[in-house]
């Protein structure tokens, strides 16, 4: 026998497995059923959550070494603006839910309208964020001012990038909706984009209290 761990198991070639292969949702042996949207976006979502999760934990532990610096700097943030942005994001997520619901009943015009609303809210979020950044930058604050501002700028900037990316994804979906590419039966793409947008919201749900509120 050649030294090899490629053992040949004939039973692998049964038609059942081959049939399943056509379906990309069965990329893993553990089959998950009916995940909204593409399986790949869920792997992506998990990866993103992991990156942010690690960042959140690192923030918390970095803070425990210099609580005063963090508390003092944190109080310079506008909690009202943070709250406003939270409500904007939650509402935009709600709009996405409505958009998915609309396309599920075959109403692609309505679906596109809800998504346009989402993109508009995303724009508002960006505007508020830029106002905040402008406040901080004009006060001469940079990544190197102290550790709190480093984390604040890093986390919110990375998150902002995701909001922008989500807006681009949703804009593509609106374009396809207007082209009539989606229907009550075929709306995989809408669900995929929706899942991404919800993730952006989900991350902010932790980011907001962590950076703005808890001290």
């Amino acid at each position: 026998m050649p030294p090899s761990f490629v053992s040949i198991d004939e039973s692998c070639d049964e038609a059942g497995i081959l049939g399943n292969l056509m379906n990309t949702k069965t990329m893993l042996v553990n089959e998950t059923e009916d995940l909204p949207g593409d399986f790949a976006i869920w792997i992506f979502i998990l990866a993103e959550m992991l990156v942010f999760g690690v960042m959140f934990i690192v923030y918390a532990f970095a803070r425990s070494n210099q609580i005063e610096v963090f508390n003092e700097s944190q109080l310079t943030l506008s909690r009202a603006m943070g709250t406003l942005n939270t409500i904007i994001l939650i509402t935009s997520s709600y709009f996405v839910v409505r958009a998915v619901s609309a396309i599920k009943s075959g109403n692609s015009r309505q679906s596109a309208h809800w998504l346009l609303g989402t993109i508009f809210l995303g724009g508002m979020f960006v505007a508020v964020k830029l106002w905040e950044f402008n406040e901080k930058f004009s006060a001469g604050i940079t990544l190197e001012t102290n550790d709190f501002y480093m984390f604040y700028l890093t986390l919110t900037f990375f998150h902002l990038m995701h909001v922008l990316m989500g807006m681009i994804i949703l804009a593509c979906i609106v374009y396809k909706l207007k082209n009539g590419d989606y229907s009550a039966k075929e709306h995989f793409g809408v669900e995929t984009g929706a899942s991404f947008w919800h993730m952006v919201d989900l991350l902010w749900i932790i980011l907001f209290p962590l950076i703005y509120i808890i001290r």
Binding site: I57, S64, I87, H198, L202, P209, I213
Partner: protein, 86 residues
């Protein structure tokens, strides 16, 4: 059927907004402390569950995925709490 679902989503949205305002008020009104920290984290966990299960639609999906999201909030929130209690 759909109308009912939409109304349900609206209720979830309202709950999320109320919880957010709750978080804001805690931040504004109450002096900082362990209870505040823990309650704000708990609110986050609830909000996360609402979004994952009802907005993302994970409640229809295998328990594994719901478990992952719940586990994520518990672990990340838990680690944050540990760091703050230190």
């Amino acid at each position: 059927m759909n109308k009912q679902l939409n109304r349900f989503a609206t209720i979830i949205w309202l709950a999320l907004v109320i919880l957010t305002i709750g978080t804001f008020l805690i931040g504004e009104e109450v002096t900082a402390g362990k209870t505040v920290m823990l309650s704000v984290l708990l609110i986050s966990l609830i909000k996360g569950q609402l979004i994952a299960n009802y907005f993302m639609g994970l409640r229809h999906v295998s328990w594994l995925w719901r478990g992952i999201i719940l586990g994520y909030f518990v672990i990340v929130g838990g680690m944050i709490a540990i760091a703050y209690l230190n």
